[in-house]
Assembly symmetry: D2
Homo-oligomer: 368 residues x 4
């Protein structure tokens, strides 16, 4: 019924955009894992708003406060293994901007559906619990998961694959850790910087037109062992897709060749097996590192489609829910012209949480 997910590593997310703050309880983390706070803050900074003219001007320090589940020792923060709760205070909330949307719902937003679902009782200031602000605790969980995974030799990285009609280069067949780190360090996380510049122009053009623009995030994970996952409903795709659709504005999720595979012949789409680098690999990665719901050991490859920010400055048509009369809506407030940009670390985070969850279940009783 709500905002929790996971099997072994489980998130329970809470908070509203204009309430006291947002946070997450993470159940099932392994004990004894060091959390490098500088690294975590750096990861959160990639999602944080107010950093450049491509994002909303809302300013939040997004400092995570650990309420449980860790001990400190010599400057290091270490997981206890017990439930870890992190809280992030809301600081720069301007609720006045949102008065009235409960009466006249914004197109593309959850104002109308929340009104029906919660019978008018949800706190929808700043979109409330539906806000992109809820991705801050997702990134806390994901940032911690990424650190734990990296000690297992698994690295998760993403880039902005497209903005509107502008395409970045796709990930290469075998992305390296260096490549993922280099992309993450960019203010516009792309592989091809000239595509990035074009994306920037596209975003600013949309913004100047009082509009917004969509985009696609491509994410990979390298270093996964083969054999992770299960057929039917507990495969890598099932668990990742249900988590990724938890990110506001995601409208589609695909793995490997994805929708493009639907236009292919089998002889094109099937990836030949080879034995190289002391293991079984494939010479292409249309399968995105997953066959039958189970990892092959090739890089995991997925894409998430992010719709254009529904809040735009242009006038829009809506209805007044009190009596059904039509109204022309003008949305003030501060908004990202392209949420796909800030979704890049969120997709990484969500992917890392799911992969850590699956890795916790990896060892089979029969192996021992």
């Amino acid at each position: 019924m709500s905002s929790d997910c996971g099997h072994t590593v489980r998130l329970s997310i809470f908070g509203e955009s204009h309430g006291p703050g947002v946070g997450v309880v993470i159940q099932g983390l392994p004990p004894g894992e060091k959390i490098d706070l500088e690294d975590l803050y750096a990861f959160l900074a990639r999602r944080r708003p107010g950093q450049n003219r491509l994002t909303t001007t809302r300013k939040e320090s997004d400092k995570p406060v650990f309420l449980s589940g860790v001990t400190e020792s010599g400057g290091a923060v270490i997981t206890c293994g017990t439930p870890l709760c992190v809280f992030i205070e809301n600081q720069d909330a301007r609720s006045g901007d949102y008065a009235g949307f409960t009466e006249v719902p914004r197109p593309g937003h959850a104002d109308y559906t929340a009104a029906v679902r919660y019978r008018g009782f949800a706190d929808m200031r700043g979109s409330g619990h539906f806000s992109g602000r809820l991705t801050a605790p997702v990134c806390v969980a994901g940032g911690i998961a990424k650190q734990i995974l990296s000690r297992k030799g698994i690295q998760v990285g993403a880039h902005l694959y497209s903005v509107g009609p502008v395409q970045d280069a796709p990930f290469p067949l075998m992305p390296t850790a260096e490549l993922l780190n280099a992309v993450a360090a960019k203010s516009l996380p792309v592989l091809n910087d000239s595509a990035g510049e074009e994306m920037e122009r596209e975003i600013l053009a949309a913004s100047d037109a009082g509009d917004s623009v969509g985009g696609i995030v491509e994410c990979t994970a390298i270093g996964l062992p083969p054999g992770l996952g299960s057929p039917m409903f507990d495969g890598v795709e099932n668990r990742l897709s249900t988590a990724l659709f938890g990110i506001p504005a995601v409208r589609g999720v695909e793995f490997g060749a994805g929708f493009a595979a639907a236009a292919m012949r089998g002889s094109q789409n099937n990836d030949p097996f080879v034995f190289q680098n002391d293991r079984v690999e494939t010479t292409a990665n249309n399968h995105g590192g997953i066959l039958g719901g189970i990892t092959t050991g090739m890089p995991l490859l997925l894409r998430a489609a992010i719709k254009p920010t529904p809040s735009i400055a242009q006038a829009q048509q809506s209805v007044n829910l009190t009596d059904g009369h039509s109204e022309t809506l003008h949305i003030a407030g501060r908004h990202d012209p392209c949420v796909a940009l800030r979704a890049v670390p969120v997709v990484e985070a969500m992917t890392a949480v799911v992969l850590l969850d699956m890795m916790m279940e990896e060892t089979d009783i029969g192996d021992q």
Copy 2:
């Protein structure tokens, strides 16, 4: 860890392609629901192989046997409310066709990943538990769910949206029950019959070339109430995507405008609200009937990308897992040149099961 899904209405699927049979236990069905067997058989026939030259020549009567959870009264079968188990015997299995794939895995199949995951113990004849044959029990569950939903005024329907490069027309803004029934009755379930003829040519061309071809299934549900679903991880998209990726060969799932939304401006993608037909509607359906994970009351709209059948007659490159040497693989056996065709009722079935599951949770304590 495997082949069960759902919250209130829960499936536990079992069986292997060349074992005794396949089946499903459905927990949590409402009691007192009539199952119209003729209607159910007709639905299952839409998925059944061996019916025309576009599908595999494997012949299975696919007669579901009810092992529990129903009573019969005057020719009618009625749900008890207790767990319903259905078993479908395998009849036309030719296991000899599959000898050897545990040593030399077929590209695009789960042979390699299953070997790692199950350490060589899975029964992979005919792809075993990974086989498309496991969609037969999914269709039993879905056929029952469709009947229950239809009594609530909800109808689920799908069509073959594309085959390779050939596109059908998309669903209209407001599909009618008549349209959905008419499409379901066709041997090639499309909206535009001339597109259907072209698809047929495309499938036969692939087949003649010893190849296969992918496709996209578009599915809709009409009559859903607004307010169904929840934000973050328990929304309509989360629950549908995790179920739909349980169908073998699905590589992507999108809702409403889906990936196309990523190329749009917000002013294009946002659907204006209007008050008409005594309720709140939208003048377009890029949102696919879902905002914030919650239904708007507009038609649910989703698409699933189906990869080309990995089994093709052409020679393929693989490795022998015993020592890593390269082998050229020739796959015999009977295979669908385009599994997307038979996936149409499966996508309907899976969607219906999830929607029934969600409808069971609809009523809120506060309403009473």
Copy 3:
């Protein structure tokens, strides 16, 4: 909402007492585990009715048929790792004995509550899905789990701790595998055979009086590693109790000293720690092998209270649900005078399933 349980190893139980049969789908079993059929049949025989004058005269061969999830090789049955389904046909059902109980509910039975819950649609012949017959598939799952656990050095055993006022000796501080095997081999599984003889007299006396009698089953598991389980809601007690209350007629579950601990002082109840046998042990086992929800490595010790069989030959007062008038009820049919006797292997089975489930989760990512 129903008859499934477990986290990693998950059961989905189905069937009715007088329908085609009963069965279970087991998801998440480890692959490559040999199922010794003779051993399994011998275990099932311990629960099977119709064996002596202490149990119901209903005769069922209870032959389990494997519908999926196993392969046979050289006479041995081996788990695939994929969902294992077992079906047991009903053979000796006499439904005529049960006509009328939907109108006049039997005291102590689920006739009335099932009528309300399933609005009259449940198949309640022979108590339907509420019947003790549903413990047959539980024993199949438990018999398999016991075999897998024994390869890990874990043995589960139980005895009839009491029948009415007659008490057996309790398990010793450190039960041996030999003791557990010896008890299991007895037709009346007790530690003290003279207590067993007295129990037999008590059961026959109840039977002769047209009555029934309750009892307590005590169960232990030896060889468990320390550190299994978690605090609060995922501890050994939580998972075992929720499973054990799934056995019909269980009215209470306690661990270690259980309810007796409530009458103790702390100085009596606390078990002193000692280092012996190369490990940490305790000199008493009031804690039942569990502290804080987590195993200590001492024998797991639990007791389940089984109420007297509600079906008795004596006349009883009930009401006719059609109009509320009082009726005197006479129950025919074949019934166990003391279900606690046949519950002994069922408690073992349920305990084994839960422990296997927990063992599957044992290995922690941090250990590797």
Copy 4:
């Protein structure tokens, strides 16, 4: 793997005894429910320590801070329907008292098992996440659940059924709301005040002897509709027992006659049905309001056995985990001589949370 529970109304509990604080995220609450803060504080005060000489002298104001999920309007706090997070700061923690227990585990405590389970990384000051302090957020959730249930005509109440050998009177066949309120208002919540005085003497005698004493809590719920729950693993007993064993120190749970039923004949234990007060009732309540896992509409009746506080002033034997040598342990710190006393509202709270969870699922699609 940890500290979350529930199906529709779900708790995720976090915190350590000597960390920043303790709290809970509650997912799935119905929207629009008023939380009466005075009533909630009064309920929490029943569990709070430091109030009289029968409990620990640790003083905590236990003021719950709402971090999400509510709005305030005219002094009233109203649920939004979105996740509700409550945090309670730790104020009077004296961690010095607990140094050393990671090396020399306290008998009856989780020190040893936590050390194994969390490999030495758990924060075990004041028993950390295993502390009775974690019942404070349980009471917040339960206090809210009790208020919502009471609007449905359901009232949950409990009393101290026994302390050591001293017994209170049992609940009458049909407890009234007045009776439950009157008991809740007492500093020693008993039905028979002279038994209460004897209990007080028993507790003080244990305390004076540097010892502690166990007890039993009996809990009831009146006003439940018949038909709530399901057979096998989703019945009232399954869900309540798994939750109640989440309360530290609970060693046994029984329903209705419970373990006493094991000593009865069926003719004694079966409760005759009658039609009175315009509904089906029973003339006794050995079944505790549950048959076949489903409510009958009679009062729910359960008992939880609480072991004596393991922390006692007397010297105890333990081992030093570093090298296995025996040590005599002296426990300082502040402790309840009888935790059963403060467990009374906790059992009420846990019961209320589970019943609300089940009530949220009550309405069946077929009824509409």
